[in-house]
């Protein structure tokens, strides 16, 4: 494994390995002194073309726990068109002897683009509405911790599925591990054609949540309303909001996830988010699991200096 670009292209064996490794790293995160030396002297560069505090911070924490240097290159979206091309930026960072690039970009396919033009490992930290593999992995790690085996579980992904990279990574990751995925949301926020995806669709929250072991609530970008995809946030909340009442459509012990940041009162109510009244919410846990899966990804891709990885992996990919 040379890059982590998508869960679609990651084998179930590799997913197992990443999850097992991440699980073993949870212990390190919980230590008073969170430091292991295995990536000492390696440099991870985060290249973010989109604002993201939590994902970037999570990668930085992961790198620093393993003693790697974490360098952030933040590029304002507005200056992209005038500035140097993505290819030139990427090659510059490589020439600066980074050992790994973590990239976030608003255009789908950008991580693949980076991998095509670089010899060092690339980790996709979210490309457009395509994939966000480490988010998919941390969701799976969280579900696994609460439910044991992923096989046979029913996961409902609720909300703005059409524009969600989290949804796509969930779909590929979970189904490869034997879970089934149902997408729930209004038809204007659903993909028009899911013939290439292993999912079922429902525009009814009640039907979609029926029998669900896990409810993964997606963030609703408020600008969707402005673009005319929704009549109002109020109506969205009424039809698709997850609250203690609508959660009863799912199994009684259903686990609630949310990739954050949450719009409390829109897609999720406070009591569900905070896990009050016997509701199983794992939203905060997801954040610390995020560090563990990113450590696992960095461990897999950065343990060996990139030049010798390329040599070794030559016959494996």
């Amino acid at each position: 494994m040379m890059n982590l670009l998508t869960l679609r292209e990651t084998s179930s064996d590799q997913i197992h390995y990443l999850l097992d490794t991440a699980l073993s790293f949870v212990e390190i995160i919980n230590r008073p002194v969170k430091k292991v030396p295995n990536l000492r002297g390696r440099v991870m560069v985060t290249l973010f073309y989109e604002n993201s505090t939590r994902t970037r911070t999570s990668f930085e924490v992961a790198a620093k726990i393993m003693s790697a240097e974490a360098i952030n290159v933040a590029i304002a979206q507005s200056s992209v068109s005038k500035g140097e091309s993505l290819k030139d930026t990427l090659r510059t960072i490589q020439a600066l002897k980074a050992d790994c690039i973590v990239i976030r970009h608003s255009s789908s396919g950008t991580a693949q683009f980076a991998a095509d033009h670089l010899q060092i490992p690339v980790i996709n930290a979210g490309d457009g509405r395509h994939e966000h593999p480490t988010q998919g992995l941390l969701d799976m790690l969280t579900i696994q911790k609460h439910k044991g085996d992923l096989r046979g579980l029913k996961v409902a992904v609720v909300g703005d599925v059409a524009h969600s990279r989290v949804a796509r990574s969930n779909i590929w990751g979970l189904t490869k591990m034997g879970a089934s995925v149902t997408l729930v949301g209004p038809s204007t926020l659903m993909p028009h054609d899911v013939s290439e995806l292993p999912v079922t669709l429902s525009t009814s929250l009640k039907q979609g949540l029926e029998g669900a072991d896990v409810v993964n609530v997606l963030r609703l970008q408020t600008e969707r309303q402005e673009r005319g995809l929704l009549p109002s946030l109020r109506e969205y909340s009424k039809l698709y909001g997850i609250n203690s009442r609508t959660l009863r459509y799912a199994k009684p012990d259903a686990l609630v996830l949310h990739p954050g940041p949450m719009n409390r009162g829109v897609e999720i109510t406070a009591d569900v988010a905070d896990g009050l009244n016997g509701i199983h919410s794992a939203i905060e846990e997801q954040v610390s699991h995020g560090i563990a899966v990113r450590m696992a990804a960095l461990y897999m891709l950065m343990s060996v200096p990139s030049s010798s990885v390329a040599q070794q992996m030559g016959d494996r990919i």
Binding site: M1, Q14, Y17, D20, T21, L23, S24, F25, V26, E27, I28, R31, P32, V33, K35, V36, P37, N38, M66, Y299, M300, S303, V304, S308, V309, Q312, M313
Partner: protein, 188 residues
């Protein structure tokens, strides 16, 4: 790691030998530390862990109390990252559910060789806290140290040559208790 083909194994410890050696080590530990009140036994993963558990059990029968017991993963402290992690099994988590500060720690491993594993284990342990002392117990010492490290408790000293390989199998991991010495050329 093990080349099972083209190698011959010569058993150097059988089940009973191992049991006796561990019992002796347990007695030595008690003697040296004047009891086990402040003691913690920590096995280095993978095969140090069952050995540590067995020593702890013996200590329990001798002193009628159970010492603190843990497992230490040193995968992230190794200095020989030449192969990609995907070629190895996923790391095991360190499992030390107690505060190691001011404890007398006995590190346990199966074979002592160059000393690099123990070096990594000491570093890993010190990242978790500040023990009062660290002692080292090994089932086999095969020599050829590359670092200034010496064991406090040894099950058996085993002179070897550099091209030989020593393999310890334990019931908990391998389904059999045995230590064998493997030679690459099939001689003897």
């Amino acid at each position: 790691m093990e080349r099972e083909d083209n190698t011959t194994g010569l058993a150097v410890m059988e089940q009973d030998d191992i049991r006796r050696a561990l019992t002796r080590i347990a007695h030595e530990i008690v003697e040296r530390n004047h009891g086990i009140e402040n003691l913690a036994i920590i096995g280095i993963l993978t095969r140090g862990k069952p050995l540590a558990d067995r020593i702890a059990k013996t200590l329990h029968s001798i002193e009628d109390r159970m010492p603190s017991c843990g497992a230490l993963d040193i995968g992230l402290y190794r200095d020989d990252f030449t192969s990609n992690p995907v070629d190895r099994p996923a790391p095991h988590p360190t499992d030390i559910a107690f505060n190691i500060n001011d404890k007398d720690i006995v590190l346990v491993d199966d074979v002592l060789y160059t000393g690099r594993t123990v070096r990594a284990a000491i570093t890993a342990l010190l990242d978790l806290g500040r023990p009062a002392s660290i002692q080292l117990a090994v089932l086999l010492d095969r020599g050829h140290r590359e670092l200034p490290i010496r064991p406090d408790y040894v099950g058996k000293n085993l002179p070897t040559s550099l091209d030989e390989h020593v393999k310890v199998s334990l019931m908990e991991v391998d389904g059999i208790d045995q230590a064998v010495i493997l030679r690459p050329d099939g001689s003897r």
